[in-house]
Point group: C2
Chain length 592, copies 2
């Protein structure tokens, strides 16, 4: 298989553009250097190709199932690949040294993880969830909880999940019905059913630490009543907690990630005692969702990386194919006795490759940019700087989750198209990427939810400061680009569309009617996303300016593609938003 | 499962809009009436739900394989469902009475077939290929060949295939290397390998009639050297012809359609005789491609129907789900103690349903419109009328193939999104539709090929008469619509974009450089496709005008959606085409 990521591109983005080495001047990362960063990235690339990539098709073709003993069975290659990964200690990458971590910047941890995501998306999810889980606990758990749960997570002995959704409530957390009753000893008894729990059960680790949203008595209705609990598969004394695996979902893709329906406290494992799985409160009662949301930005950036990685892998595979597969002749060559040319010579194949390149490299740049913001916020010199970066992250997060989920999936579709009939077969890699990636617009907040989040919360928070900050930040790039002849034209184009976005946003909310304002929130999300990725291409253009060679020419060509073929798509979207179109509001259910 | 098609919509399109009853005034269809049409459609809907729908998931989950005896094994339900279908005699629908056919209009045959395509796309392909094969032979075969091959095909005793692609030549037929040597007795010996042969082997019928493109001695290079042969699995004396099933392709979707690598004349079944499978020439030597292309328009419309049917099935499934699944509350309802609403109440879900509706009903209207043109051409009063209709069909065919392949696949993605996590699981229907449909932009001419066909051949043929005829035909609809207050605004919008398309087309070719002109042919195809579907919505709006009730209000809402949300997407595409953008030409392979 083709290398699913590009070392050269990562190097460009991390060092030539983002200057992540500068992070080592901050106290938190002072023990690190480009050498330690490179060592982690090198190890990641090698391990991903050695332990994850070979299991990718195997895990897809041999879906997990529940064996006769009620335990989840995964293919040997998946089990051993994940064991190798845990042994390498990479789960610990960005955790505090005090917790046994390597205290690497988030951006390096993500640049490491993206190799595993690209090599085997389904396997990478076990790690992704464990890191997210441990990150949350590292922030909010008591010292005792940290010792009991976080350390083994960081060591890779335990793994983690996030249990939010229920069968009747996927996107709507206000309707969570899982209950938590105080047991009188400081612990709680959890009862309820959780759906779509990725990595929800398996035999890969000694224990599984579920983070469960549930309602404890005395909370208000809706999301205000939600508390967060640690509910482990095995209790500290080694006995089995009352969490039953009711079923595995059979998915279109991402098959090697178990996806579970879990019953908490249905008596399967505690027939004699009071009903309920034992849970340990995290932080304070009724504040569960705020803890969860605090970590959700990173989880959402993580999903953006996953979508990006799959898009990238498809791009690399279709590029390799297009360079060697010969077929047809140039349109101005009518003589059929001439030799067929590699299909990369055909303009439409180049269009499909350029589109993929502009999507996946644009997305990767953006996700890394967001990750640097996470590091900058965590190590900000003062509260004001931190608040500023956090605000920018708040605005960017819905886009970081949803843009790659949409466009890197589109890249996967183009990769199939480049391979033609071969692309449609399971003997090649690209169709699996497409199936795996189709999950990403659904989980961690479905696409439409992020539209509401962006337009309904993020751009108007703090009196519109979020959008103003985004516009100002893009404006700074534009300012630099205007000085550069090769970029000035693009800078003008971007600035004028940013100006328009700001005006359109104000216009949308001037109606005073949230229903009308939010009727086309998804279009707003998509338009803003394209503007942000155009900005990322302008940034890359500047980083490549003055440098010659194929790699930099490629960056320039992809930037040109994005500005000419993609950014103009926002025009009709902004027109519709300006019109405050009511089509979707006025249609009646009975008319369908 | 939801009914995958809508009887009401078919009735509207066939009778209230297209007035297909008028076809019964033509000699060829004089024996028919609305009653006979309805009987066939009723039978089709019932049979599709009874014999095809229940086998859809079974065929997907139990892919065909080659048994120990070398024979293809398909699930029992697929085998018995297809047997029921053949018994019902529907293969004969549109064939001449003289051949044992029912001599129904093509549009009725397609409206019948679309039920089977929607209920089970993979199973429908066996019939689709048999009809296409027999259609071609009915036109070009000798009387003896008609008796030997066409009659059993029409009866459903034999089935048919089209063997064009080879492993090294998918889209590029000029590079076909399969050889045909005259055997001296009027027959030929065929040697070569054919790839991606749908329905290429199975035990469903007594015999399989392969139509094979091969090069006979004396032909020119490229496509001019191609002849067409009947190469049956079993010879008329019952002996096995030398056609070996080398392997089955393992596909992302459409799994119940066998997709084969076939060796012709490799000696597997004729170790002692001269090498080569026995083939019978169709028509004249070296004219094979013209015969094939004559039938390809219908095959391409057939693929358009297939894509449409899958899109339609997904729309119906997600609509049913959206009406019953409750989750969340209106954006202006903040009280979490109120009951969750059906998700169809959310604007973004309505947007996804309206988008699907506008794609699938627009596509169905268009495919039926093209089918009526086929009937009108076949029964035209004179050569001039026939030529005129054929020219319009030539221009429309690339769009009839590619537009639904792109947008009804997008509809399937939206159906998944409406169902959320459930949509991503194989327990529900929509993910299979998405996988099945992803084939359609690939086979029968990949997407990019149709762009070249439309811009490079069709719109410039006969001195540009094709595009002028399309513009004139759309103009006639616009003329009628301008008289109707509810449609006049849309008519204006459509006319101005058609005018622009005509200008842009002339501008593109004014460069005199085919490479430059065709660099963005795919965008041209996509823009023209959206214009044509907008025209179809204007037509439906006129057919619904003055009629009240939910059904007609739904048509008006979908038309409004298409004109406001979709048609404007052509603006940036036409801008790019006007700019004669060179991005895809100038990028070098080494830059990727």
């Amino acid at each position: 298989m083709a290398t699913p990521m590009s070392r050269r591109d990562l190097e460009f983005l991390l060092y030539e553009w983002l200057d992540v080495e500068a992070l080592t001047s901050r106290d938190r990362f002072a023990a690190h250097s480009r050498d330690t960063f490179d060592a982690v990235l090198e190890l990641s690339a090698d391990l991903a190709m050695k332990c994850f990539a070979p299991a990718n098709k195997i895990g897809d073709a041999n879906e997990p199932y529940i064996g006769d003993d009620g335990k989840v069975v995964l293919p040997d290659e998946v089990v051993s690949g994940l064991a190798e990964f845990r042994k390498a200690g990479l789960i610990a990458a960005s955790f505090d040294e005090e917790l046994g971590g390597m205290q690497l910047p988030t951006v390096i941890r993500q640049a490491s993880a993206v190799w595993f995501q690209a090599a085997n998306a389904a396997m990478s999810s076990y790690n992704f969830l464990t890191v997210g889980n441990a990150n949350l606990l590292a922030e909010y758990a008591t010292p005792e909880q940290r010792d009991t749960w976080v350390r083994p997570l960081v060591e890779g002995r335990f793994s983690g999940t996030m249990c939010l959704s229920e069968p009747q409530a996927g996107s709507s957390l206000a309707d969570v019905t899982t209950k938590a009753e105080p047991a009188g000893d400081g612990t709680y008894r959890i009862t309820g059913t959780k759906m779509w729990i990725s990595a929800g059960d398996h035999e890969l680790t000694e224990n599984i630490v579920h983070l469960v949203l549930a309602k404890a008595p005395g909370g208000g209705p809706g999301v205000k009543g939600i508390s967060l609990f640690i509910v482990p598969k095995f209790l500290p004394d080694g006995t089995r907690n009352d969490i039953a695996l009711v079923g595995l979902n059979h998915k279109m893709g991402n098959r090697a990630t178990t996806n579970c329906l879990l019953n908490f406290g249905d008596g399967t494992f505690s027939p004699d005692s009071a009903p309920g799985a034992v849970g340990y409160l995290v932080g304070e009662e009724h504040r569960g969702l705020s803890y969860m949301f605090h970590m959700m930005n990173e989880a959402r950036i993580g999903v953006g990386f996953l979508a990006t990685a799959l898009g990238y892998a498809g791009y690399q595979a279709s590029l390799e194919y297009a360079k060697v597969r010969t077929q047809g002749r140039p349109v101005d060559q009518k003589d059929p006795s001439t030799k067929p040319v590699p299909i990369i010579e055909h303009a439409d194949v180049r269009r499909m490759l350029l589109a993929q390149k502009s999507y996946v490299e644009g997305a990767l740049a953006f996700e890394l940019y967001c990750s640097v913001l996470v590091d900058q916020a965590a190590t900000a010199a003062d509260a004001e700087e931190r608040a500023r970066i956090d605000l920018l992250l708040e605005v960017l997060t819905p886009i970081a989750k949803s843009w790659p989920s949409q466009w890197c999936l589109e890249a996967n579709s183009l990769a199939i198209q480049v391979l033609g009939g071969y692309g449609y077969t399971r003997e090649f890699d690209v169709e699996q990427y497409y199936r795996d990636n189709r999950l990403n617009p659904i989980h961690e907040g479905a696409h439409g939810i992020h539209g509401l989040d962006l337009l309904g919360r993020k751009v108007i928070m703090q009196g519109g400061a979020g959008l103003a900050l985004l516009a100002e930040t893009i404006g700074a790039t534009v300012g630099r680009a205007l000085e550069v002849p090769a970029a000035a034209g693009y800078a003008d184009a971007l600035q004028s569309i940013v100006d328009r976005l700001v005006k359109v946003t104000a216009h949308i909310w001037s109606s005073g009617d949230p229903k009308l304002a939010l009727a086309n929130a998804t279009l707003y999300l998509e338009a803003t996303g394209h503007i942000v990725i155009a900005w990322m291409w302008l940034e890359q253009l500047l980083a490549a300016d003055g440098r010659s060679g194929d790699f930099y020419d490629g960056k320039r060509a992809a930037a040109q593609y994005f500005f000419r073929y993609e950014l103009p798509k926002t025009g009709p979207q902004l027109d519709l938003l300006t019109a405050l179109d009511r089509t979707t509001l006025d249609v009646e259910p009975s008319w369908f």
